[in-house]
């Protein structure tokens, strides 16, 4: 299984020539005295941004490691304002349905997975799933995000039948489901290529692909935190194939685990390059590793580190329209503050969320709270579709 079977070569990511190392070719600041270094670096980067030039890896690494937090925020905020001048902040009304917690991959950062034989292992019945979608529709929700473990028995037939029935029963619900590791798993279970798997799922009613499972798109990091999970090029391959089928997608990053700053920069540049090469990312969503109940344990990233990543994402990913703040992992307060550090969207209201909650992090958010916090920050709240069409202005 390669993840690239049938993929258009132009989506094929370049081989790992950047793996884990910052590109230091463009570095005009070596001789600058320390006390002026910060100001000079920021000014060089600001000028680049103002003239619509993309920044390079070494500049990104500088911003991540050394820039003053508010200076970094201001750069990101300026980009965010120019990309989204309407002073609105969007959100989607959605529900995560985690159809199973049985997973063969057992990532060390995950607190959600169970062995098939575990007493609390589950696979939701179809009726349970439909009941959850019913509730979503009742509450005016538009987006269903189905994600689950890599269950050895669930192949393409299961998902085709399920998605057909969901489209039939709930024609207005957008089915934004199955991250790249699940797509590759389904393909493997059913002995299909990735392209064929995606095409069949699309025919059955899958509308777009969420960007989960990206973690850090550097294989050395993946080896350390999720050795059984797909490699970064497989993740990229699924997203390239999805784009070829005109299926929109998102991209994510889970940081604060075992990666180095260079790996974060590499991740962002790989996402940017994939988008340049034709990927269909509507949004980028960074979130933090949540250590509760996981094999890896340790600490979660601090608030300042999260804001730095949001801002850096906005600056580097100048070809991706939306940056989402993650209230699910950061809480409402910090997610709101992130709106000044480059984020223009608050993701979903998430009627239900189980994966982050399993790691001991369970913030809740109602639509009213969402609207209040957006207004309080001086923006107009808008409810959007999965593809960022505005449904309602508040």
């Amino acid at each position: 299984m390669t993840g690239f079977e049938g993929a258009n070569p132009r989506f094929r990511p370049k081989s790992g020539n950047h793996a884990g190392r910052a590109d230091t070719r463009v570095c005009p600041y070596e001789d600058v005295r320390m006390q002026n270094r910060q100001r000079t670096m920021i000014e060089v980067i600001r000028k680049k941004i103002e003239s619509d030039e993309s920044i390079c890896r070494s500049e990104a690494l500088y911003l991540l490691n050394d820039a003053d937090l508010l200076a970094l925020g201001k750069l990101a905020d300026a980009i965010r304002r120019s990309l989204h001048p309407e002073k609105e902040v969007s959100f989607v009304v959605d529900r995560n349905v985690n159809y199973t917690n049985v997973c063969e991959v057992k990532c060390k950062f995950c607190a959600f997975y169970r062995d098939g034989s575990a007493p609390d292992a589950y696979v939701l019945s179809r009726e349970e799933i439909f009941g959850k979608i019913d509730e979503l529709v009742e509450q005016g929700g538009t987006q269903l995000l189905m994600q689950g473990g890599l269950h050895p028995d669930l192949g393409i037939d299961y998902f085709e039948d399920l998605f057909r029935e969901i489209k039939k029963r709930f024609p207005t619900v957008w089915n934004h489901s199955l991250s790249p590791p699940e797509i590759i798993h389904i393909a493997a279970v059913s002995r299909l290529g990735v392209a064929e798997t995606l095409r069949r799922l699309k025919d059955a009613g899958l509308d777009s692909i969420p960007g989960g499972g990206a973690e850090i798109l550097v294989d050395e990091v993946r080896e350390a935190i999720s050795p059984e999970k797909i490699l970064w090029q497989q993740w990229a391959g699924v997203m390239g194939e999805a784009a070829r089928l005109s299926m929109p997608s998102t991209a994510t990053m889970m940081f604060g685990c075992r990666e180095r700053p260079e790996d974060i920069v590499e991740h962002l540049f790989r996402i940017r390059e994939l988008q340049t090469e034709g990927a269909s990312f509507t949004a980028f969503i960074p979130w933090t590793y949540q250590p509760g109940n996981t094999e890896l344990g340790g600490e979660t990233a601090t608030g300042a580190e999260y804001l730095r990543i949001v801002a850096l994402s906005r600056i580097v990913l100048d070809n991706i329209p939306n940056i989402q703040a993650s209230w699910v992992t950061q809480g409402a307060k910090l997610a709101q503050v992130a709106l000044f550090f480059g984020a223009n969207d608050l993701g979903g209201t998430m009627l239900e969320e189980n994966v982050v909650a399993a790691a001991g992090c369970s913030f809740r958010m109602s639509r009213d709270e969402m609207i209040h916090m957006i207004r309080d920050a001086g923006f107009r709240p808008v409810q959007r579709t999965t593809l960022y069409a505005i449904l309602r202005r508040y």
Binding site: L70, Y306, L334, D376
Partner: protein
Amino acid sequence: MISFASICEKANGGGRITDEEALFLFESNELLEIGALAASVNGRKNGLRVFFNLNRHINYTNICVKSCSFCAFSRKAGESGAYAMSLAEIKGRAAEAVRLGATELHIVGGLNPQLSFDHYLDMLRMVKSEAPSVHVKAFTAVEIDHLSSISGLEPGDVLSLLREAGLGSLPGGGAEIFAPGVREQLCPEKISGERWLSIMETAHRAGLRSNATMLYGHVESFADRVDHLRQLRELQDRTHGFLAFVPLAFQPGTTRLQTGRKGETTGVDDLKTLAISRIYLDNFDNIKAYWVMLGEKIAQVALAFGVNDLDGTVIEEKIGHDAGATSPQSLSRDGIVRMIRKAGRQPVERDTLYNGLRVC
């Protein structure tokens, strides 16, 4: 004509901003600009240093004759959950504080009619004998007023007796919002803002330092906040007795106060309030982000918004947590040091009077 540029010029030139300018900032949505100005004001005072201390809270009783609508801690005598710690229990906590290396005990409680003034003196003496090297920061102006009425002594005499018994300084609680209209809704039975300020002035004149607080995010207006800050700034001009200003984010969780607002304060409001305090209170050395009320994430981010103090390890805080604060019960020394370092600042352990003890 007030503009952001004119405010920056004034504050960066070491000048003092007006009430109207503070109000202008509260009404602005330029969060990062306000933060950057506060950071530059703080940078000139404190550089990259961020203070914290190792402290333990002792909330000696939750029985209180007052019924402040914002408080979820107080109980009436006999009510379920009501408690008053015995001297032995307090002693045990003081001993534990010493064992954990705390340099400060933060002792506050309800206005419990069953406790005599002598009991308070005994409490201090006992704590000092158990933990002679630990600084005792105890009793808000509200408790001092209460002790004055039960003892029939003037606040100045109450303070000097407490001091003889071991009191080191006063915490800044009970200030809430000074504006009488707000106090009427919040805490009609509590001492007035005027009385709070006068007790603090008495303490400062007697050589006792204190903190100052402001409870925000309930029914008050931005103008009420500015009025509160102005009165603190005026008193500080007269006494220079305040060590730190500590804005306290209202915790709506389990309190009776209906504010008409949605839930807790927002992150943006928290950061703006801290930053504007830093800019406006030019005669205060220290602005503290009290992580118990703000949460660790916002408290840490606040270090980029003019804050230079993260309070302390705060073992066994009850008042904010009873009102629904979801922060942990305490932070470890390593946890605080990590927060400060990850914010790109230099952690400095301090004592209660803001003497640096060690650079971490």
